[in-house]
């Protein structure tokens, strides 16, 4: 099967102009592939660049010279990309934006949202952008929050004051909300269960497993062994 995503290769360095122009070589010649229905687990000690790999794929970080980040998107009618193989490392902003909006879901490590918007609205927004009417999005968003064991008393509050574990689940709900309306072919996971207790880890893992089995290609950085065991179909060392 053709991979959904291929790094061929990925390089990344950071030049710190405000700190004497020091250059940090973080990633050199990383190569990997992931296909539909697979979950590739990146293994390496903290600080060795797993998050950087994920952020270079989403375009939060600019891939370094010589990088090729090849995405094979599903063709969508009327919007999104047309199904041709694209190199995200060379793509223009228009293409990058479409790739991110319609083809890639990214669960970041930390929740970063406007501190004044309610949790329910935050989860509904990606669904509305998918074209759902508010009265369709609301029950769908509610059932997602319910599935993630977020107490309904919190839904109308902004997540700023929530506990770490609650924020992490809100973050997951926002990142995956659009996938429930229309699946994304690539899902990137940066420590999705890091601050969760066992029970909540279970519900998150079950949700992710469903998306994987429905055909999403996944790349994840998992610190806890349990999540790795249950989700990963393949492991790759990163150094």
């Amino acid at each position: 099967m053709n991979p959904v995503l291929e790094l061929a290769p990925l390089n990344k360095q950071f030049t710190l102009h405000t700190q004497g122009g020091r250059t940090l070589e973080v990633l050199q010649g990383i190569e990997l592939q992931v296909s539909a229905g697979e979950c590739l687990s990146l293994q390496s000690p903290s600080g060795s660049g797993k998050s950087t790999i994920l952020r270079c794929i989403t375009g939060h970080y600019l891939p370094g010279p010589g990088s090729h980040v090849l995405l094979r998107p599903r063709a969508l009618a009327h919007r999104g990309l047309d199904g041709a193989l694209i190199d995200l490392a060379q793509a223009n902003l228009h293409t990058l934006r479409l790739a991110r909006q319609f083809h890639i879901a990214y669960v970041s490590q930390f929740l970063r949202v406007i501190p004044r918007v309610s949790t329910l609205s935050l989860v509904m927004q990606p669904m509305l952008r998918e074209g759902l009417a508010p009265d369709q999005a609301e029950p769908l968003a509610s059932s997602l929050l319910e599935r993630l064991h977020l107490p309904s008393a919190l839904w109308l509050l902004a997540p700023k004051t929530f506990s770490g574990g609650e924020q992490q689940r809100v973050n997951i709900a926002i990142a995956l909300a659009a996938c429930l309306v229309r699946p994304r072919e690539l899902i990137l996971l940066d420590e999705p269960t890091a601050s969760l207790d066992q029970a909540n880890r279970d519900v998150v893992t079950a949700l992710l497993k469903d998306l994987r089995d429905a055909g999403a290609a996944m790349i994840g950085a998992f610190h806890d062994h349990d999540t790795h065991e249950r989700l990963a179909t393949r492991t790759q060392e990163v150094h």
Binding site: F14, T15, L16, H17, T18, R55, G59, H60, Y61, L62, H78, R79, N92, L93, H94, L96, R97, L98, R100, I114, R116, V117, Q125, L128, R129
Partner: protein
């Protein structure tokens, strides 16, 4: 959806020997928000006026794709067509609302002006539309007949905004729309802008020196230094992985 709406190529303008804007290229999609950031005097506002066709560039060109899907070169467009576009397809929001609002014209009068420019004549309908828009941006509709000079700075800015939005423009250009407002007022106005962008599918270009504003509203960012674009990218890329020394300095100054 997501078709290009505005393109600029090799845009340049000199004030005497000073290169106010030099070799700027950009492209904006329907419904997309572009933020132009940079310090005072970096050419942000000059660039905005070039994009709006309010000034003619010395080099390069700006093209706009209108509702019917036709590309128009703003540099060769005659004045009448440019005005028609300005009334029907664009909005322009300035930093100082007072400069665009007349103390002797009521709030409703300002909102109705653009509608009447497009041929609306029924006074009751115009007034009703004005009040609906006021309610939509959380202004008290019963104040429709008051002079704008009696409104607070934040409310004046809302008034200026809806006086533009009432004719459903596709592209709104904003020059420091939240600068000079109290922080809490600013936050409310930004939330409102964000909501309207989503609801109306507006393409927006916003000039700001406030990175928080850019992060909240923009999809795409241009960073200007001395008239040149030193960095252009998706908003989180520019702020999370800035490449140019100036952008790195800018980002570390905030956080």
């Amino acid at each position: 959806m997501s078709q290009p709406i505005l393109r600029a190529q090799g845009l340049g303008l000199r004030y005497g020997s000073l290169r106010a804007v030099h070799n700027v290229n950009l492209s904006l999609d329907e419904g997309e928000c572009l933020a132009i950031v940079g310090e005072s005097g970096s050419g942000k506002s000059t660039l905005l006026s070039l994009l709006a066709g309010q000034q003619q560039p010395h080099e390069g060109e700006v093209a706009y794709c209108d509702r019917s899907g036709m590309w128009l070169n703003l540099n060769t467009l005659d004045e009448r067509d440019r005005r028609r576009l300005a009334r029907t397809e664009w909005g322009f929001v300035r930093q100082h609302a007072q400069a665009t609002l007349h103390p002797h014209v009521s709030a409703g009068g300002h909102i109705g002006e653009r509608l009447m420019g497009l041929g609306a004549r029924h006074y009751g309908e115009i007034r009703k539309t004005a009040q609906q828009w006021m309610a939509r941006v959380e202004m008290d509709p019963s104040r429709v007949d008051e002079s704008p000079s009696r409104f607070s700075g934040g409310m004046q800015q809302r008034l200026q905004l809806i006086a533009n939005l009432v004719t459903s423009p596709r592209l709104v250009l904003m020059d420091e729309p939240t600068t000079g407002l109290d922080v809490s007022v600013q936050a409310k106005l930004l939330d409102l802008l964000k909501r309207l962008q989503e609801e109306l599918g507006l393409a927006t270009i916003i000039v700001t020196h406030d990175l928080g504003v850019a992060r909240l509203l923009a999809d795409q960012v241009l960073v200007m230094v001395r008239g040149e674009v030193v960095e252009r990218g998706l908003v989180d890329q520019v702020f999370d992985d800035p490449q140019h020394p100036y952008t790195q300095q800018l980002v570390t100054s905030v956080l």
